[in-house]
């Protein structure tokens, strides 16, 4: 069975290019451009992975990950960010984040990671 992934990032071009790339490579992928939309999708569907940017227009990605824990929603978590902030990484690790991915991101790198972890 193929993996099901949610990409959360406010840059629509980033989302669409990544979503298409992963879909073309056998990973069922959806995307959201805000924390609010992401929460709604995560609350109503089952995903194997959420790949979330830390900088979102309405909330930080890390806060969405905390919300997932509060809601007891089980999903593998990958956090994206341009900056390697020690505090954020520690917080993400505490919230059970599987990997931290630094931007810029090559779609093939994320595909390899998902296949490795999945």
């Amino acid at each position: 069975m193929s993996l099901k992934v949610l990409i959360v990032e406010d840059d629509v071009v980033f989302c669409k290019l990544l979503t298409k790339y992963l879909n073309n490579n056998g990973i069922e992928t959806q995307d959201a451009q805000s924390a609010q939309v992401a929460k709604s999708l995560l609350a109503n569907q089952n995903f194997d992975f959420v790949v979330i940017d830390n900088k979102l227009p309405d909330e930080d990605g890390i806060d969405v990950l905390a919300w997932l824990s509060e809601q007891e929603i089980t999903v593998n978590k990958i956090l994206m960010s341009r900056f390697e902030d020690e505090q954020i990484i520690q917080k993400a690790t505490d919230l059970g984040v599987k990997r931290f991915v630094k931007k810029p991101l090559k779609p093939a790198t994320l595909l390899d990671l998902l296949q490795e972890l999945g």
Binding site: D11, V13, K16, K103, P104, L105, K106, P107
Partner: protein
């Protein structure tokens, strides 16, 4: 491809072009209509010969001058036209507007199935590449945009392949407090992966929202199109109308003219009711620098006039508007049989519904002169041969723009897009002679705006 090398900038690499990402799904599975394909393969000489046979007053040398013209500023354009008729049965295509960042590639079926990049490749390789190669600046290549990412990623990846080098794809929005692009000493720079300003030698430009607020006149970076094309009429309807009038004056002895609805410029808000009466209680109000169907109001009643005026009151009081004759849905009894124009409309469907539609023709400057590049149509939401439902806005009857304000161009009003493919083309009732006339109208409009740019910025 490297996504997000910095905020709102992606790095597009050679080999990144993915056909399924740059056309609407419906278009990917369509086949161009043979008549349209035939039209697009005709030479400029064939267009002239045919047009002059059917329009014997037209001077072939004047048309050759226009079709063989090499625009200095306006090298890539898209004209929106309406197919209209009068009670005497005279049909024509009339120019509604000419756009300096026209969308259209994603709506155009492939002309040659073996060329998977279609019109993206033709525009980049036949128009942009020769200009860049002749331009002496140094730096990287870029695509800057504020809309339509589906096409702009396509242009960036086509550009990367054509030059075999990486291309920076940067979103350059008008309200971005920290944009990833800026002009330093009139040269475009884009923020790179190291957060430094990277000089750009040439950029494909799809910046549509008040672009003059961040793109200077006299850019050292080669831009397709430069801002001069916008300021001379490619993004200002009043300037464009002035350019068309100057064109019609220049060519009045040559039997050709740019067709436009009757137009009044520089009308103040308070004067709108007077024009409403003067135009026979129907008109179109346009905000001169609006686009994508925004800032355009079709007025057929006092209620609609009041509604439009309430919205326009939000604009600065010194703003003026362009007023145009409304192209009617049907002939209105008692109106002039010669001067009252109405939509030809689509061929009636099985339920006998006929719709107003426009025709978007994109063209570019090549070694062979101005050449057509892409073509498609959009129809209105409600049929023009049935009464408008009570309370419905007349825009539903006349408005053809497909823009849906969500997902930044990854979404559109699919059912109203009319492809020039085997399945849909016949519904427009257009023949090859209308396409030729439409192309010549479009080329004339492009010539007129480019000449206006030369006049404005060089003389």
């Amino acid at each position: 491809m490297k996504l997000s090398i910095t905020d709102n900038v992606h790095l597009v690499e050679p080999g990144d072009f993915e056909p399924s990402e740059h056309w609407y799904p419906r278009v990917l599975n369509s086949n161009i209509h043979p008549l349209v394909s035939h039209f697009l393969y005709l030479s400029n000489e064939q267009y002239i010969e045919r047009y002059c046979r059917l329009n014997p007053e037209a001077n072939p040398e004047a048309i050759a001058k226009i079709l063989n013209y090499k625009p200095k500023y306006f090298k890539w354009s898209g004209t929106d036209m309406m197919h209209i008729t009068n009670q005497l049965g005279n049909k024509k295509l009339t120019v509604i507007e000419t756009n300096s960042c026209p969308s259209g590639q994603k709506s155009m079926p492939l002309l040659n199935l073996n060329v998977e990049k279609g019109g993206y490749k033709r525009l980049i390789e036949e128009t942009f590449l020769p200009a860049v190669n002749a331009h002496k600046e140094t730096g990287k290549l870029a695509v800057i945009y504020d809309k339509n990412p589906m096409e702009n990623v396509g242009y960036a990846s086509t550009l990367a392949d054509a030059f075999n080098e990486d291309v920076l794809l940067a979103k350059f929005e008008k309200d971005d407090p920290n944009p990833p692009a800026k002009f330093i000493d009139n040269k475009l720079h884009i923020r790179n992966e190291e957060e430094e300003w990277e000089p750009i030698r040439a950029a494909f430009r799809y910046v549509t929202q008040i672009p003059w607020s961040r793109i200077p006149v006299g850019s050292k970076t080669l831009l397709l199109n430069p801002i001069e094309a916008c300021l001379a009429g490619g993004r200002n309807k009043s300037e464009a109308y002035g350019a068309y009038q100057a064109f019609n004056e220049e060519f009045k002895e040559d039997g050709i003219s740019i067709n436009t609805p009757k137009t009044f410029l520089d009308v103040r808000l308070g004067e709108l009711p007077t024009y409403f009466e003067k135009m026979g209680k129907s008109m179109v109000i346009k905000v001169p620098d609006s686009n994508a169907g925004q800032g355009v109001y079709t007025i057929t009643s006092e209620t609609e006039l009041n509604k439009a005026m309430t919205e326009l009151q939000q604009n600065p009081p010194e703003d003026t508007y362009l007023i145009q004759q409304l192209i009617y849905s049907n002939y209105i009894k008692g109106a002039s049989k010669k001067d009252s124009w109405y939509h030809v409309g689509t061929i009636p469907d099985k339920k006998n519904r006929s719709y107003a539609f426009d025709l978007r023709l994109m063209m570019s400057s090549t070694n062979e002169g101005i050449r057509p590049l892409a073509i498609y149509s959009r129809r209105a939401r409600l049929p023009l041969n049935q009464p408008l439902p009570e309370g419905a806005d007349s825009w539903e009857l006349y408005g053809t723009n497909l823009s849906v304000k969500q997902m930044e161009g990854w979404s559109y009003d699919d059912e109203r897009l009319m492809l020039y493919d085997i399945r849909n083309f016949a519904n427009m009732g257009l023949g090859i002679d209308e396409l030729i006339s439409g192309f010549i109208q479009s080329a004339m409009a492009t010539y007129a705006i480019d000449q206006n740019a030369i006049k404005k910025f060089e003389k």
